[in-house]
C-alpha cells in the first residue's frame, strides 16, 4: 500500500539509509513512482549524500602530518 507525501517525509531518513522494513520500502517506492515532487526531493537528498561522500573527506596536509608526528614522538 502506497503512502502519502507527509508519511513519506517521516520515512525519508530511514529510506535514505536503507533501513526500512521491506513493506515500508515497497510503500515508499510505490509513492515515489507516482509523485514527481517527492521523487525529486529524494533524488536531491541522495545527491547531497553522494557529494559529501565524494568531496567531504579531507587529507591531513603532509607538512602538518610530519609536524604532528614529530610532536607525538617527543610525547612518547
Amino acid at each position: 500500500m502506497s503512502v502519502t507525501c507527509n508519511e513519506l517525509d517521516v520515512l525519508l531518513p530511514e529510506f535514505l539509509d536503507g533501513t526500512l522494513t521491506p513493506a515500508q520500502e515497497a510503500a515508499a517506492a510505490e509513492h515515489l513512482a507516482t509523485c514527481k515532487a517527492c521523487a525529486l526531493e529524494v533524488n536531491e537528498l541522495e545527491g547531497v549524500t553522494r557529494l559529501y561522500k565524494e568531496y567531504g573527506a579531507l587529507t591531513l596536509p603532509d607538512d602538518a602530518r610530519k609536524r604532528i608526528m614529530g610532536t607525538l614522538d617527543l610525547e612518547e
Binding site: L12, G56, T59
Partner: protein, 175 residues
C-alpha cells in the same frame, strides 16, 4: 567503522593508529570548526590523549569509535574556547582542492567544494558533527550515537535536518 573490536592486550602502535585515523580526525575537526589550522590542533591533541591512554585502553568496542570520541571532544573543547574569544568570520579558512583535472572542471569543482564547505558550516555544531560522522565518514547511526553520546533517534533527527538544509542550500548543484 573499518576496524573491529580488538582482542584484549592486542593494542596497535600509535603510528598505526595515526596512519589509519589522522585523516578522519582531521576531517571531523575541520567539519566542526571550519578551520584547517584548528583541525590540525584537533589531530595533535587527540593523538596526545591517545598516547596517554592507549596503555589503559581495554579493547571494549571498535578502537575507531574510541578515537572519534576523543577527537570529537577535542573539537568541541577548541570550539568552546574559540567562542570565548571574538571570532572574525574572515578567519575561517576553507580547505582547497588537492587534485584539479582540466581548468574548467577544476574551477567548477572548486566552486562546488567551496559552497559545500560554507553550507555545512551554516549548520549547528551538533548537526554538523552527526552529518560528518554518518554521511562523510560512513559510520553507522549506532556508532555515531555512541561517539556523540546521544540516542540513535537524536542522530536520525540531526541527519534529517542536515540533509534537508544542505539540499535546499546546494539545490543548483544537485541535478
Amino acid at each position: 567503522m573499518s576496524d573491529t573490536t580488538l582482542p584484549q592486550g592486542n593494542v596497535p602502535t600509535l603510528r598505526t593508529l595515526f596512519n589509519e585515523f589522522a585523516d578522519a580526525t582531521y576531517t571531523l575537526g575541520y567539519r566542526i570548526l571550519g578551520d584547517r589550522h584548528l583541525a590540525e590542533d584537533v589531530v595533535q591533541e587527540t593523538f596526545i590523549k591517545i598516547i596517554h591512554s592507549l596503555a589503559t585502553y581495554r579493547g571494549e568496542g571498535p578502537i575507531g569509535g574510541w578515537i572519534y570520541r576523543i577527537g570529537y571532544r577535542e573539537a568541541i573543547a577548541i570550539s568552546r574556547k574559540r567562542r570565548e574569544t571574538v571570532m572574525d568570520p574572515d578567519s575561517v579558512t576553507f580547505a582547497t582542492l588537492e587534485a584539479p583535472q582540466s581548468v574548467e572542471a577544476s574551477v567548477l569543482q572548486a566552486e562546488l567544494v567551496a559552497e559545500m564547505d560554507k553550507a555545512i558550516f551554516e549548520l549547528s555544531e551538533p548537526v554538523r558533527a552527526a552529518f560528518t560522522l554518518r554521511d562523510i565518514q560512513g559510520l553507522s547511526t549506532k556508532e555515531v550515537a555512541e561517539i556523540l553520546d546521544v540516542s540513535e533517534s537524536a542522530v536520525k533527527m540531526r541527519l534529517a535536518r542536515a540533509r534537508e538544509a544542505l539540499r535546499l542550500r546546494l539545490k543548483e548543484y544537485l541535478v
